[in-house]
Symmetry: C2
Subunit: 264 residues, 2 copies
């Protein structure tokens, strides 16, 4: 573990790997793809990368350069002679393949696979996902070792997915499912104080008074629907407290310039 970036030490494999799936690249050809895969893994909180007979050996300078400082992944990458060795300690293994295989094996989506992986690792199980070489994908012998086939949905006319993109698919599903609980909209509300209804009503009353003064609402028949439309517009905008104050300033400013305009 010499040289591990100390700023990332809360991600030490000893703590993290236990409960995250392993990524196993079988006979990867290009260092740049291994590096990009490592980067994508760390982007998504995955850290256990295993290589089976990488074509250009290991360590690989191109992989390091392409990893964009995902050193915790690169430095802890383990290299194996055979797929069997690489998955020996795993209990649930998925094989990623786009081509259909004449094998009697379940084929599931990345989302369904990661959902199974999540439940599995939560109870102490060890899981991993296999990826084949860039040019040909997984060999049938490797697919046969897996519990199920993981099939990434792709355009059938253009289904050659870059290796790092395939790895990222797994990472993205992993981190998305972990973060599913997050209510993105809540963050927005926490960060900004939304205007309460009284503030909003006062602002709308202010607007109404000024519009009345300006003669904008003089058509008594249309007046109620015009006001309702304005109200709907501002309610829909989900204004913050600060924005209500700002807009009251706008009303005031416009109204006073309007007065000046009438005077001239």
């Amino acid at each position: 573990m010499a040289g591990t970036n100390s700023t990332l030490n809360h991600l030490t494999p000893s703590k993290k790997n236990k409960k995250t799936p392993s990524i196993i690249l079988i006979e990867p050809q290009l260092g740049v793809n291994i590096g990009m895969a490592a980067r994508a893994m760390l982007n998504c909180n995955l850290t256990d990368l295993r290589l089976v007979s990488p074509r250009d050996g290991w360590p690989n300078d191109e992989a390091i350069a392409a990893s964009a400082d995902a050193s915790i992944v690169i430095e802890n990458t383990r290299v194996y002679q055979t797929t069997h060795d690489a998955i020996a300690d795993l209990e649930l293994v998925f094989a990623t393949t786009a081509r259909s295989r004449d094998m009697v094996k379940r084929t599931i989506s990345p989302g369904a696979a990661i959902s199974e992986v999540s439940s599995f690792v939560k109870t102490g199980g060890k899981a991993g996902v296999l990826f084949g070489r860039e040019s040909k994908g997984l060999k049938n012998n490797d697919v046969a070792l897996a519990d199920a086939i993981l099939s990434i949905p792709l355009n059938p006319s253009f289904s050659s997915l870059n290796l790092a993109q395939a790895v990222y698919t797994i990472g993205y599903e992993w981190i998305s499912q972990k973060k599913k609980g997050i209510n993105y909209k809540k963050d927005f509300i926490k960060k900004f104080q939304p205007a309460n209804k009284q503030n909003l009503t006062q602002m709308l009353n202010h607007l109404e008074q000024e519009l009345d003064k300006s003669g904008f609402l003089r058509n008594q028949e249309k007046r109620p629907s015009m006001l309702r439309n304005l109200q709907n517009m501002f309610v829909r905008a989900q204004l913050t407290e600060q924005e209500v104050r700002t807009f009251r300033g706008v009303i005031k400013a416009l109204a006073s310039s309007n007065k000046n305009y009438k005077k001239n």
Copy 2:
């Protein structure tokens, strides 16, 4: 459209772009990232790529090389001077950003964004997703043009996602949601004839007879649970008709070799 690969002509933009979101890269720096983004787009059935002031001009040889023959995307890529020009015809625009912005704007997940995009384009609307330059992401002025912020879930300690991976996130959500209806398991059933329960029961009876002959089930107290465990194991395996025939062959073969063994 000169030079468009004729094998892909069922994907001509005139037919496809109308109902798929546009991908807008603002001031992209590296040709290789543009090319990989184009490849990822076509992997996922997206074809409308727009560039705002690409650093190295357009067309770009590195982009073409990295696109892995996604020529329909590369050849129809449009270049604009400003973000405003690039999105002028769009009605729903999301800005992809990892950094939180001090803006009062909805922030949603890629899945939620693409779900909105899908409903929107289905009724004839035009939608797009903005991506900033590699080094700094989107400028605040560009984010301000968008209807909402699209935030990709990432490891907060390592959140610098490669541009092509970010684009692929959108493509992956797009094609995954389009293919949601597909029952992966059904394909498996269609392809192989599963054994019916009668076949399975006959196989299990055959096994039971041979195990009785061998003395394996002689413990009368444990006999029922042993048989139930065996049954569960084979039911769980979801055997095909062919596999049942094969396994009956196995039972027969083992039983007859067992007889030979006893004879000797």
